[in-house]
């Protein structure tokens, strides 16, 4: 370990030594209107080729030879600004970009700087601006960033109207979902139909499908990095919206102008508000709602330090028949301190708290029962960004997370039929060291190379088990508190290269390894809040995925259009599935209920986007294959993963008709999910039972639908704006199968039939949004 540190120091000092004739321009880029830092703004010398982009805190550092420069600062939704700079020494300048003026004659919906870049090494990345998300028509008019990203290549929706998603053949739990760096363990509300993210509070969304930068780790298939707004430090703003199912309110403003600001954002669904109006008393007592709050504070402590404190709190409540209730939710908190050591060295220290829990409560005339489960993380993260010279920029740091999982406590009152029952709490300590360098090796070649070294220490106290191949416990091993049970150490290389063919064309390649030590066990097709998170144990090994990808990128028609295509191959190890008839509810030796295997996924993605003009939008297409091979399932042969879909198409279209009206449409088509249909039938104890042979060898009917939307700007004054948004989800009423069940015909039991249930057809919505500023 020490050797590695010395080696890195040696490289860093060697790089620094070669760049002494140069000076550094650095600073923070902010919105002039709100004072919010701007992520991913482009900083570039107009007369040269040198350039950089601002980091996730708006900081940039550009090292250039001594001289006079015209530096252009640009970002999506902002006016471009050009500064004359005489660079004779290191120079620090904070940049304020004014909001883009929307001129109907030359509507510029998007600008350069965001999204895929031609020269950068990062591939497999998708960015969406909140502007883009806002116009996409959605189920019940509820804007949702997780549903918006499903329209991008390689990212697939988990089900009709569902906010869950699959990336490049990974399962839903293999996505690392971060909100201001805090992991969100269950990113959905209302059984997956809405995501936990209130789009009003969100500033930036980035999804990595491959080539994950080394600072991210812990999940196999993707990273979804969501950044919250910081709050306007210039003026107070009150905005809100009323839709068919929810109402939202957002308040932000300066605490001390230019120095500090706050943001408070809340959302609540109110379907339950109407429930008491129901005639049926039984229905009247049902509950079904969620709420979430986002809050953020930020302080600029002098020129070199920034402090951010942000939090999320969301909860779902469901209650039926006054007897069956469940509630669940996430709590996250992040405290971050940015420090600018000098024009080239930027540091961020984060302390992160993350918590997900659920509580089931049953109370009927004969029994009562309470089930509680929780997963909690405490996480310290330190990251340095060192802009070492004009050719190198580096990121390095560490991450240390303590996980506590409480798999389930079952309690009931003394009179009930149940004993109290507690599954063992599980403890683990996850550490990572990461370092990566982006090297402009030649005008035509950029390289990123780095690695992430992770250690996952499973700690006592608790019993761990040895099991035989049939899943029987052969030995119980007891560990005292904080005793090490097992430590898994893995090195995850992260390599990427871009070959710049000309100003508008490049080819990129990458290799990345990811390791996952927390596994979600799900028994249902839709995913439920009660799905079980498991940490690796002496028997459950870390999941590992290796992914290689190759891509070709092209901007044309003066960068109005952007085209890209990527192919990937991914191999996954130590994949987990339930044994048939697994019972995980009361089983401490969870290993006795699961099976292990491998997976593979490969595919080809094509993306064409029109970025500017009255009409904007994109077409995305994915051709892919995803398979699993698990000992004990499908006779140990390869089988399709449920999310294996051969074709997946999304067309997203937006048209700014005039100043008042914006029209939008999207169309989605994908091959039906791989499912298992019966191959025969028989009778057991007078009941019809189905006979199955191969796993997931059949297909649901293809899924497709068209959504339409329109936004009508009612008022657009200096102090107040308001709009009405209309949408129709599944506008031509396609009956997309949500599930297919098999059974006997009710009238003629000798007939066996398949019944399809479909959920959403012709779902209209209207919502009203406003903003006082």
């Amino acid at each position: 370990m020490e050797k590695t540190v010395f080696f890195l120091l040696f490289i860093f000092s060697a790089i620094a030594a070669t760049s002494q004739q140069k000076h550094t321009l650095s600073g923070t880029i902010r919105s002039q209107r709100s004072g919010e830092t701007i992520i991913g703004a482009s900083v570039r010398s107009i007369n040269g080729t040198e350039g950089t982009v601002s980091n996730e805190y708006g900081f940039f550092s550009l090292t250039l030879p001594e001289g006079d420069y015209e530096i252009e600062f640009s970002a999506i939704s902002f006016e471009t600004s050009v500064e004359q700079i005489k660079l004779t020494e290191n120079f620090s300048k904070n940049i304020l970009l004014p909001d883009e003026v929307k001129d109907l004659e030359q509507v510029t919906v998007s600008a350069t700087g965001k999204g895929r870049t031609i020269t950068g090494t990062q591939m497999g990345v998708e960015r969406l601006s909140i502007q883009e998300v806002k116009t996409i028509p959605m189920l019940l008019g509820e804007r949702d960033i997780l549903k918006a990203i499903q329209l991008l290549p390689g990212i697939k929706q988990a089900g009709d109207g569902n906010s869950g998603f699959y990336v490049r053949g990974g399962s839903a739990d293999q996505n690392l979902i971060l909100l201001d760096e805090a992991q969100v363990y269950n990113a959905s509300h209302l059984l997956g139909f809405f995501s936990t993210f209130n789009s009003d509070a969100v500033k930036d969304i980035t999804v990595y499908k491959g080539g994950m930068p080394a600072q991210y780790g812990g999940r196999l298939s993707s990273v979804l990095d969501v950044k919250m707004n910081e709050g306007n430090n210039q003026n107070f703003e009150l905005s809100g919206g009323i839709g068919l199912i929810s109402a939202k309110l957002n308040l932000e403003g300066p605490i001390q102008k230019n120095k500090s600001s706050f943001l408070l954002s809340g959302r609540r669904t109110y379907a339950d508000v109407f429930v008491p109006l129901a005639k049926d008393t039984a229905i009247r007592k049902n509950r079904l709602y969620f709420y979430d709050y986002n809050a953020k504070l930020n302080y600029q402590l002098g020129k070199k330090d920034n402090l951010y404190i942000s939090g999320y709190f969301g909860r779902d409540y469901l209650k039926f028949d006054q007897q069956f209730g469940i509630n669940w939710g996430n709590i996250t908190g992040t405290a971050r301190w940015n420090h600018i050591f000098n024009s080239r060295l930027f540091s961020n220290t984060s302390f992160i708290y993350s918590d997900f829990d659920y509580n089931i409560n049953i109370n009927n005339p004969n029994n009562d029962l309470d089930i509680y489960s929780k997963i909690r993380d405490l996480n310290l993260k330190q990251e340095f960004q060192w802009y070492a010279g004009s050719a190198h920029s580096m990121r390095f740091g560490f991450n240390s997370t303590y996980h506590k999982i409480r798999p389930g406590d079952v309690t009931s009152s003394g009179t009930a039929s149940f004993n109290n029952f507690y599954l063992q709490d599980r403890y683990s300590w996850e550490n990572a060291l990461f370092a990566t360098d982006t090297w402009k090796a030649a005008p035509w070649l950029n390289l990123t190379y780095g690695a992430r070294l992770t250690s996952f220490a499973i700690l006592g106290e608790g019993d761990f088990y040895n099991i035989d191949s049939d899943g029987n416990v052969t030995d119980t091993l007891s560990y005292a508190k904080n005793r090490l049970v097992k430590n898994y150490i893995n090195i995850e290389p992260r390599l990427a290269a871009s070959f710049i063919l000309n100003r508008t064309t490049s080819v990129k390649a990458s290799y990345v390894r990811n390791v996952q030590n927390l596994h979600l066990m799900s028994n249902s097709t839709t995913g439920a809040p009660t799905d079980k998170w498991l940490a690796s144990t002496n028997i459950i090994k870390p999941e590992i995925a290796d992914q290689v990808a190759l891509g070709w990128y092209k901007n044309f028609a003066g960068s109005r259009y952007e085209f890209s295509t990527e192919a990937y191959y991914k191999k996954m190890y130590n994949q987990i599935d339930y044994r048939p008839g697994a019972d995980v509810f009361t089983n401490d030796a969870i290993e006795s209920q699961i099976l292990f295997g491998i997976g593979r996924a490969y595919g080809w993605e094509v993306f064409l986007k029109k970025k500017t003009g009255k009409a904007t939008g994109w077409i995305s297409y994915t051709l892919s294959k995803t398979e699993r091979k698990i000992d004990g399932i499908n006779d140990g042969a390869w089988y399709n993963a449920r999310q294996d879909r051969t074709h997946d198409v999304a067309i997203v279209f937006n048209y700014q008709l005039n100043r008042k009206w914006n029209l939008a449409a999207n169309w989605i088509y994908y091959t039906g999910d791989a499912v298992t249909y019966p191959n025969g039938k028989y009778v057991i104890d007078n009941q019809l039972v189905f006979y199955y042979t191969k796993r997931n060898a059949d297909r649901m009917p293809a899924y497709h639908r068209l959504d339409l939307g329109a936004t009508w700007l009612l008022k657009d004054k200096k102090k107040f704006t308001s709009e009405l948004a209309f949408s129709v989800f599944n506008a031509y009423g396609r009956e997309n199968p949500y599930i297919i069940t098999f059974g006997q015909n009710e009238d003629d039991p000798s007939k066996t039939e398949a019944v399809q249930t479909s959920l959403f057809r012709f779902v209209p919505s209207i919502s009203y949004n406003f903003k006082f500023k």
């Binding site: 028949d321 008839g581 019966p678 191959n679 025969g680 199955y692 398949a754 019944v755 479909s758």
Partner: protein, 280 residues
């Protein structure tokens, strides 16, 4: 009592309430028939084995019984019996009664027309100690949004851990096919009151119904059979991974062999003078 907190079921019922259903044609691939053995030995003189074969999805016959099998049940270290075929094709019976605590071996030999040597299916099951059904009554309450009558049982789980149960509900002599199961990991040693909840929006017991509930004490392998059957073999796609139930039959057949005890009670549901019952 798994169904008691089956969140998945409750949620999917809530969801399906808003969905629309339609019978569709799906492309079913027929598979070569497979043998099915269903063997039952109880402490109240039921000794019955059914040998059958799977049929194709679109066949109008669900049950294809097979004749001319040689079926024997032997008590380990004790006596055995040869079961003889009854008038129902594929059903074999013998006057034989199992005893709690004893282990029984089933052997089924069958000679298919096209084969040279007989197929042999074997299985072993141990009859657990007997647990009595203490009482049976009807609870009236709101369930799935409606006021319903629900069969409710009370029994005392023995102090030792490892008991498993299956309950079968009969109404006017007809079996209700819902699979009710319990094992004692949460209820060990307690006096248990369990409602037999039927997750069917249309189902309720009615006044005057003649209700019978049978409590079967089953062994662990049989619990797993019924549990996996109810989870993944009944055609509902709530389960992410449909499959065949975990069988305790060796030799490649589907099905089970269960030696279990039986304790049952009968009541009339909320009887009054308006009810009329046939005289035996």
């Amino acid at each position: 009592m798994r169904h008691f907190f089956n969140i998945g079921l409750v949620l999917s019922i809530a969801l399906l309430a808003i969905g629309c259903e339609r019978v569709i044609n799906v492309d079913i691939k027929d598979a070569a028939p497979r043998f099915v053995v269903e063997g039952i030995l109880t402490d109240d003189s039921t000794c019955r084995v059914r040998l059958s074969q799977t049929s194709n999805f679109n066949d109008t016959i669900n049950l294809r019984g097979l004749s001319n099998a040689r079926v024997t049940i032997f008590e380990e270290g004790g006596a055995g019996v040869l079961l003889s075929e009854t008038s129902v094709k594929g059903v074999y019976r013998a006057p034989f009664t199992g005893k709690p605590g004893r282990t029984y071996n089933l052997r089924v030999e069958y000679m298919p027309e096209t084969a040279n040597s007989p197929l042999v299916f074997t299985s072993t099951s141990t009859m657990p100690r007997k647990v009595q059904l203490d009482s049976l009554f009807v609870t009236q309450r709101v369930f799935l949004g409606q006021n319903r009558r629900i069969a409710t049982i009370r029994f005392k789980d023995p102090a030792a851990l490892g008991n498993a149960y299956r309950f079968v509900q009969y109404v006017d002599g007809e079996e209700e096919t819902t699979i009710f199961l319990a094992k004692d990991d949460l209820i060990n040693g307690r006096t248990v009151v369990d409602e037999l909840l039927i997750f069917n929006d249309e189902y309720t017991l009615n006044k005057c119904d003649q209700l019978r509930v049978e409590l079967q004490s089953i062994d662990k392998a049989i619990y797993l059979f019924w549990y996996s059957l109810s989870q993944s073999s009944l055609g509902s796609s709530q389960s992410a991974s449909p499959g065949n139930p975990a069988s305790n039959i060796k030799g490649g057949a589907l099905g089970y062999f269960s030696a279990h005890t039986v304790s049952s009670l009968n009541i009339a549901v909320d009887p009054d003078s308006t009810c009329s019952y046939p005289v035996d």
